[in-house]
Every structure is written in C-alpha cells, then in structure tokens.
Symmetry: C2
Subunit: 224 residues, 2 copies
C-alpha cells in the first residue's frame, strides 16, 4: 500500500456522502481519535428486511472494533446464526456544540462522528475473547480491567463479543461558528455557539461491601 | 381504547426484548420524557439490503416525530422515493452513569433509551412543514424558533422533514448501583457509579454582525 493508503480509509460508495462532502474525512488518525474518545455506539442491523438500531458498548483494538452484548441479545444471536457474519453499520457521535444562526435554516450542530460499515462476527477464540472483554472495560474506564475481578468461565460464556474490522469507515466533522446570510448579519438575534460536552460527576460509592479508597484512574474523572 | 392502551404503547415482537425484560417499559409518559430531553437520534434504515445508521436531529410533536435533513441526504431521498414511506428504526439514548462493579462481568451503564420502529414519510403539507421546522429548532433550544429569521421559500424547499408516528415504541432504563456477586463484596476494588451527563458551557457569540445581548432562554444553559 502507498503511504496514502495506510493513512486513510479508502472511500466507497457507502462512505461517500451525497451532500456536505467537505465535512467528510477518511484519515485513520482522526477516525481512531473519535472512536477512542467514546465507548457507546449505535449499532444497526437488518432483521427480517427491516432496520434495527441499539446502543452498544464497544472497544477499538487496532483496526478492529469489539462490540459487547449478552449471548441472549438479538443482534448477537443473529450474528452468531448468520453464515459469514451479520452486516452491520455503527455510528459513534460526539456533540461539541449547538450552532445558533440568525436564520432558522443555518442552525446546526457541531459534532464529530464516525460511521463504520462492515460485518460482525462472534469472537470465538478464548484468548481473543479475554482480550476483547478487557478492552471493552478499559474503553469505558481506562485502567479498570486490571482493578476488578476477571470474568469466570460462566460469566465469559454469557458474554458475547462481536468483532467488526475497520475497513469501510468515514468520519464527519462540523466545527466553528454559524453560517450567516450576508443580509442577516444585522438582524436582532443572538448568534453563536453553545458548547456541549459530556461531564463526569463525583463518583458515588456503592453502599454494600468493603469500602475501598477511590483509585487514581477514577479520581481524575470527577468534574471532568 | 382502554385506559391501559392510552397510557402505554402496545408491545410487539420487535419491541419485546429477548433479555433484561425488567428494564423495558412502554409507558407513554416515560417515552415522551426521554424523547423530550434529547434532540439527537440515531436513525437506521436499509439500503440495498444492508443497514445504515446516521445521527439525525428530531422533534416530538404529540405522537409524531419529525426528522430533519437536507433534501440531498441519502435517507431523505430514499424515503421520498419509497412508495408508502421508508421503514426506519431510531434510537434516542441518554447516558446517566458508568456502573463499576467489583467484577468485570457486572460492569454496566446507567441509561435511558427509546427505540422507535416505524415508517418515515416526507412531510409535504406546507403548514405542517413550517410547524415541523420550528419544532426541530425548538427541540434543540426551546424558544429559539421565535427568535430567529424563519426559513424563506428557498430554504424551506432545501429542508427535508420526515415524519414517523409513535406506535411501535419501547423505553429501556437501567438505574442504580452495581450488581455484585455475594462472594465479591470483600474484594479490594472500588465499586459504585460515576455519574455522566450532558453539560452546556458558556455561550460563545459569533464574531460577525450585530452584537445582541444573550437572550434569557440561552443564559439558562450556561453551566447547566
């Protein structure tokens, strides 16, 4: 592959937008950064010819995403039953701001999103399953997998992990202030951006069991 | 309809989960509250037999959702082209906390989500289109549609609005602290909940054009 190929995902018809093309990117580093900042995706699949979408935890390990589910959950059962895996599309979205223009039309949202098209396959190798399980825990709270009891045989058996390779992938980013029509600039309406972010509050210890001091990897979250 | 029917959406096979049934609810008030707190959904549809999912702005007006898009965007064009409308599934998810148990297996997320199955149809009636356009603006920032320039004929023509009726709908809620195995309660791992919420920052006025004092409906957001 050329340097260009390794730095970017290759666009396909599905990852080429029909509009707002200037907002779409295929840079691997950007895609990874957006994925690494999150841990919740919306996973879409087709069931009986109809669409379905569910919030799902994920982890990125290199060029592979692991999706977490119960072995009893519908998409997991479908993926396990489908020969060659189940076609999926998943999206990770971070909202950064509400964009208020003087015109209703130019109202917008600042966001960074990644859309992945691919095939979900159950992870069956025991070693990969254990790594994927840890990766999902660490995606949500980095460092946590080393500070909890690992899954036992029964728990691991009840946990489904699906793998989706990152191949057909695009990012979409909207940033900056509102677009305004020149004629609107003197209108008496406030114009600008209302920043939005995900905020973590002070950790709330469970009532039951042994009290353990807050570990450093959690203390860093409070008010972040 | 009986009182029960009006208070609840009727479960269907698609809105009946295969697991964690205790977390699912069909109460209309709960569904409305979850939808009204948000303005971004993830919209899934089927294209050439394959799933796709995109972040999309919405508004709820009674028992109808309006989805906002450009007339050039793919799902909008598909919906307009499909006789009888386009089958869609959409999900609204609010994350309330990260749930850290002493065991990796019982790690979880507190959330409130709504899943809607239905058919998206383009809104064509001019009066309904204008109302829906305002509703989407007001869903994101309540009160804003009255404090900006309304769309002109050209802008309205470039804005696609899809309607999805709320009929096949379910909510899912996970709240509270971690589940622990009795044998884990004495393990030396911190256990509890890390609250998560959406935080709005101080509004940032645009550089260009007339400076207008921050309206009351925006001042209320800062730090919220």
């Amino acid at each position: 592959m050329s340097q260009t190929d390794t730095d970017r995902y290759l666009p396909t018809p599905r990852t080429t937008p029909t509009r707002a093309r200037h907002r779409v990117a295929y840079d691997r580093d950007l895609v990874h950064a957006i994925l690494d900042e999150g841990w919740l995706c919306h996973l879409a699949f087709v069931r009986d010819g109809l669409p379905a979408v569910l919030p799902t935890l994920y982890a990125r390990v290199g060029e592979r995403l692991y999706l977490h589910g119960s072995t009893g959950a519908r998409p997991v059962r479908e993926a396990a039953a489908a020969p060659g895996g189940m076609p999926v599309c998943l999206t990770v979205t971070h909202v950064d701001g509400l964009v208020l223009a003087r015109s209703a039309f130019h109202h917008s949202v600042n966001y960074r999103s990644v859309v992945v098209h691919g095939t979900a396959r159950p992870v069956t190798d025991a070693a990969e399953r254990a790594r994927a399980f840890d990766a999902v825990v660490d995606q949500v709270v980095p460092g946590r997998s080393a500070d909890c009891r690992p899954g036992d045989v029964k728990e691991l058996a009840a946990t489904a992990l699906l793998a989706v390779d990152l191949a057909e992938v695009s990012a979409k980013v909207r940033a900056g202030g509102p677009i305004e029509e020149p004629d609107d600039l003197d209108l008496p309406h406030w114009s600008g951006v209302l920043p939005v972010r995900t905020q973590y509050g002070a950790p709330v210890a469970a009532d039951e069991g042994r009290r353990v001091p807050l570990p450093a990897y959690l203390a860093a979250y409070a008010g972040r």
